[in-house]
Structures are given as structure tokens and as C-alpha cells.
């Protein structure tokens, strides 16, 4: 697993403080399987999401995305639903760590967008473009430690390397 240099995707827009109970309600926490969890993503707050989400779609949100529980099931559900990246003004820290560790790209950046807009993210240059509004946004690349972690295959790959040493 490595971060692709560039991705494009259709936007699902969310607001502030999207908590992990909204991302994956607790009643489904009886499996770790991304596909299975993905069937219930945002079920309570946006029931249309699971039917209309397409592989490669991008979530754009405001502040404190992923707040609440430590459940790794939340980023797993988004991966299972086909989400390729989450862009938010800020992230709750456990969600952020979990996403990086399991290979869901997360970008801290305040982006103006609406549902259905198309977004292009250039991870190498640190630029996000909203194809509909033509606006561009810059973001800071991840620190070297985290880039190395992602390029090692996430935390699992990283730990495997450590164990070989």
C-alpha cells in the first residue's frame, strides 16, 4: 500500500463533528470486515449514502471529523464503502491515526465544496482542486515518519519490518 500520487473523486459533503457513531453505528460492531461494515456507513444520518456511494468517492468535511469512539471499524467502513480519501478541516486524533495505520488517506485541509462536486487531490504537490468551482487549496504533506509508515504498507507492514530486524 502506498499513497497514489493523484486521485480524483466525487464529493460527499459533511459538516462539523461527524462522530464515529454516525460513521458506523455501534450495533454493527460485531465484525472487523470492511465490506460488511461498509454496508452500514452513515446509515442513521444519511441512509442514501450506502446505495449511492461509488468506488473512489471522497468525503469532504469540516472540523473534528471522526470524533468519539476509538473504533477502527469507522475508517474500515469507509474503505469498505469505497471511499478513497477523507479531507477535513480537522480530525479527531484516534480516527486520524487509525486511518493512516490502515491505509485510508486523510488530508487536513479546509475545502469549500458541495455534494456531487468533483475533487482532485495531488498528494505529491499538496494541492486540492475543486473541479466545479475551480478553486485550489494547499495542504502540508505528512511528516516523514508517517509517510514511511504508509509506504511500508501501513502499520502492519511497518511492524513486520520491525520484527524482521
Amino acid at each position: 500500500m502506498t499513497i497514489r500520487k493523484k486521485i480524483k473523486g466525487r464529493i460527499w459533503k459533511f459538516g462539523d463533528n461527524i462522530d464515529t457513531d454516525q460513521i458506523i453505528p455501534a450495533e454493527y460492531l460485531v465484525t472487523g470486515d470492511p465490506e460488511e461494515l461498509g454496508k452500514h456507513a452513515f446509515e442513521k444520518v444519511r441512509p442514501e449514502f450506502v446505495n449511492k456511494v461509488r468506488k473512489g468517492d471522497i468525503i469532504v468535511a469540516e472540523k473534528n471529523f471522526g470524533c468519539g469512539s476509538s473504533r477502527e471499524h469507522a475508517p474500515r467502513a469507509l474503505i469498505g464503502a469505497g471511499i478513497s480519501c477523507v479531507v477535513a478541516k480537522s480530525f479527531a486524533r484516534i480516527f486520524y491515526r487509525n486511518s493512516i495505520n490502515i491505509g485510508l488517506p486523510v488530508v487536513e485541509c479546509s475545502v469549500k465544496a458541495r455534494d456531487g462536486d468533483d475533487l482532485e487531490i495531488d498528494f505529491e504537490k499538496g494541492i486540492i482542486g475543486n473541479m466545479n468551482t475551480k478553486e485550489q487549496y494547499e495542504f502540508l504533506p505528512l511528516p516523514p515518519f508517517l509517510l514511511n509508515l504508509i509506504n511500508s504498507g501501513g502499520l502492519v507492514g511497518y511492524v513486520k519490518k520491525q520484527l524482521k530486524k
Partner: protein, 417 residues
């Protein structure tokens, strides 16, 4: 110059000093998983094809046990089998344990100066005993099981000072809700919180645990209270191994300081659907409730049951309202029986169950129907947290929960006097 967090992280990373913002790898003292976060951790662990650091691992089924359905039964079995396969001693079977955070403290795993990671966001509770403790994911838990280590970014630390004497029926819960109402649910994002002042040092350990427990609701990485005699006494005959208390230096650098007057804090309620939506319980107007819930890692301790029982003694829960009481551990349940509290709850028509997290996260044993309202001693009032998406959760201290169960509407217990 370092804060408590910086000192513990430096020690555990083998460095003399660590600055906020730096990413370090640390030796973790203990890693805890529950039945929900355990299963994915065990699946990841098997990929490493190695032996676990078994003395560091604590396995506590509490979310969906006693098993709520077949899927959760399989999940609980996965934990039991993992414990057997790798001969992990610290596995706490149903009937021997309780809610994970309460048990971690009761069982003496938590002590000052330790670094503890748990695959449950409320692991930050242990800061009440001077640990650096924080919530992590399942893959991270598996990594610690395999290597004993994990990466952390050294957080900035915020200082919270509370001075003065608390008003009647004001508890640790009200202090932390007051602070979250002030700084917001992302007021401590990525940061460590430290608590000081005469009010904090005058609190029972139970109230302190409530404060540290809810620091995650402000986005905090951990919430630490400098350990004192109350903590050392609690640990006597209980703590596993040795420990060394850690304090911040007098000239420690804090990213922000917040000061509060205890006199300004009243019995407080967090309205739906965020813990920052706080208001005095006395000013909510007529909010009729369907359920009153007393329990959880936030407020399921003996002190919480005692104050609720004091209010409920000789009274009946309002017709049309159901009250659920869930002591957070077997020990607390036993103590509540010995003190006659369980009898008081049952005489008042409350339903009392053995320890489980079930209702707090809308799993089972107290799920809310459409449009139902619950006053709850728990920590989260998110949309659909305890059940249907159109149900509502109001967070409050155990005294408010008990008073509201009697009147059938959200009530400041001072009103009943």
C-alpha cells in the same frame, strides 16, 4: 520545563527530553482491548506470526457481554480463544470482571507514571491516577501486542485550574461538562489536558476518574491529574508492580491555561447531540424523560450509586419512566449490595443489571425507541448513540439522573430538597 505528559513520553521513549510535535516510539506498559475492538486486533496480530508480549496484554470483554446475539457471542469467543492460545493470564471472563476502564483501575494495572494504551477511547480515564493513558485503534493494539511499542506525537499540554468549594450535588461530571461547554468538543484536539487547583485535589478518586474519562469528549489525547495521597492510598495492596509518580516542573510550558471558579459550576446537563451543548439542569424547562440510565465507565462507581440511592431512598420512579442501574464492576455490585443500595434501587422500581457497556453505546440492555428521551450518566449524546436516530440523550451526573427518574423530567436534585 516538561509537563507530566512530556516526562512520561520521554522516559518511555528512552530520550532525555521530548518536545511537543515530535513523533516518537515508546515502550507501552499495558495494552487493553475489549470484545468489540479485540476481534480486529487478533486478526491483525495473526499476520505478524510472532509471540505476543503476553505480560503487557489485558483482555476485557464488556461491550456486548453477556453475549447479546450470535455475532457478539462469536466475537466474545474470539477473545476467549486468543487468551487460551497465547496463555494470556489477564483475561476477565463474564462474572469475574466488569467495564474495562473500571476494571483496569481496580485490578491495579493503572498507576502514576505508566504509559497505557487501550483500544477504547475512554482509556484516558487512567490519567486520574497520574498515568499517560490514551485510546488507540485495533491495528495499533495488535502492533503493541507484537512489539510492545507504538508511535505517538508528543502533544502540547493545556492547564486547567479549578479553585473553590463545590456547590451541593455538583460532581466531577459537572466540572468536566462545564469545561467542555467552555472549550468545545475539539477544544483539546491532539492535546494533553492537566488539571490543578484546590477543587480538583479535594475530589474523590471517583470524581477525578469521571473528569479524566471525558477528556476525550474535548478531543484530548489524555487527561492527567497529579497523583496525591488519595491515589497512593488507593493503590496500596492493589497495584501490580512498582511505580514512580511523575509531576510537571514548576516552569512547565503549557499551550493554554484555563481557570474556573467552583462556585460557578452547577448541576449541568449536556443536551443532544454533543457534549459541548451544556446548560444548568435547573434551566432546561420541562423535558420529560422515558429512561434514566445510571452506569458506565464515566459514572458507574460506588460513589455514584451512593448519591443516587440517597436521592431515591423511600421514593418511587415516576410512572411511565424506566430506570436502569448498571454497577461498573462485580466489586462495585457486591459493595452496593452490602451497603443496601441495590435494595433501595429495587424498592424504587429501578432495573438493576450486572456490568456491561451495552446501553451506553446503543448496543443492548436499554436501547431507545424513536423519539424517546434518556437522561444518562454516560459520556456521549451523539445522534442515535443509545438507539434510534431520533432518540435523544441528555448527559448528567448520577444525582441529576436519580432526581429526574423521580420527577419524570430533567431535574436539578436541589429542587427536591
Amino acid at each position: 520545563m516538561p509537563t507530566i505528559s512530556e516526562k512520561i513520553l520521554a522516559e518511555k521513549s528512552g530520550e532525555k527530553k521530548v518536545e511537543p510535535g515530535k513523533i516518537i516510539e515508546v515502550e507501552v506498559d499495558y495494552v487493553m482491548v475489549n470484545d468489540v475492538t479485540g476481534l480486529p486486533a487478533f486478526e491483525v496480530f495473526e499476520k505478524f506470526r510472532t509471540k505476543p508480549k503476553r505480560e503487557k496484554i489485558i483482555l476485557i470483554p464488556d461491550h456486548y457481554v453477556p453475549n447479546k446475539d450470535i455475532a457478539s457471542a462469536e466475537q466474545a469467543r474470539a477473545m476467549r480463544e486468543f487468551a487460551q492460545k497465547y496463555e494470556i493470564k489477564n483475561y476477565f471472563e463474564v462474572g469475574r470482571g466488569g467495564v474495562c476502564h473500571q476494571l483496569m483501575i481496580e485490578e491495579g494495572f493503572v498507576a502514576p507514571g505508566r504509559l497505557i494504551a487501550g483500544a477504547d477511547s475512554h482509556t484516558c480515564s487512567y490519567g486520574a491516577l497520574g498515568s499517560f493513558a490514551t485510546g488507540i485503534g485495533s491495528t495499533e493494539a495488535a502492533a503493541i501486542m507484537a512489539t510492545g511499542k507504538l508511535w505517538f506525537r508528543v502533544p502540547e499540554t493545556q492547564k486547567f485550574i479549578v479553585e473553590g468549594k463545590l456547590n451541593r450535588y455538583v460532581m466531577g461530571k459537572d466540572i468536566i461538562l462545564h469545561i467542555i461547554g467552555n472549550i468545545g468538543v475539539d477544544g483539546s484536539l491532539y492535546k494533553a489536558m492537566e488539571f490543578y487547583g484546590s477543587t480538583i485535589s479535594g475530589l474523590s478518586l471517583s470524581d477525578r476518574i469521571t473528569i479524566s474519562n471525558m477528556t476525550i469528549e474535548a478531543g484530548g489525547k489524555t487527561g492527567i491529574i497529579p497523583p496525591d495521597k488519595r491515589v497512593f492510598n488507593y493503590l496500596k495492596g492493589r497495584v501490580r508492580g512498582n511505580y514512580r509518580e511523575v509531576y510537571s516542573d514548576p516552569d512547565a510550558i503549557y499551550s493554554e491555561k484555563f481557570e474556573y471558579n467552583a462556585e460557578d459550576i452547577v448541576p449541568t446537563v449536556a443536551k443532544p447531540s454533543l457534549p459541548e451543548n451544556t446548560a444548568p439542569a435547573s434551566e432546561l424547562g420541562n423535558i420529560e424523560i422515558d429512561q434514566a440510565y445510571l452506569g458506565s465507565c464515566t459514572n458507574g462507581r460506588i460513589e455514584d450509586l451512593r448519591i443516587a440511592a440517597e436521592i431515591l431512598k423511600g421514593k418511587k420512579i415516576k410512572e411511565g419512566v424506566r430506570m436502569i442501574v448498571v454497577p461498573a464492576s462485580k466489586r462495585i455490585f457486591e459493595q452496593a449490595m452490602e451497603e443496601g443500595l441495590i435494595k433501595i434501587f429495587m424498592n424504587a422500581d429501578a432495573y438493576v443489571s450486572g456490568p456491561t457497556c451495552g446501553a451506553c453505546l446503543g448496543g443492548y440492555m436499554g436501547v431507545l425507541a424513536k423519539d424517546e428521551i434518556c437522561i444518562s450518566s454516560t459520556n456521549r449524546n451523539f445522534i442515535g448513540r443509545m438507539g434510534h436516530k431520533d432518540s435523544k440523550v441528555y448527559l448528567a451526573n448520577p444525582a441529576v439522573v436519580a432526581a429526574s427518574a423521580i420527577t419524570g423530567r430533567i431535574t436539578d436534585p436541589n429542587e427536591l430538597e
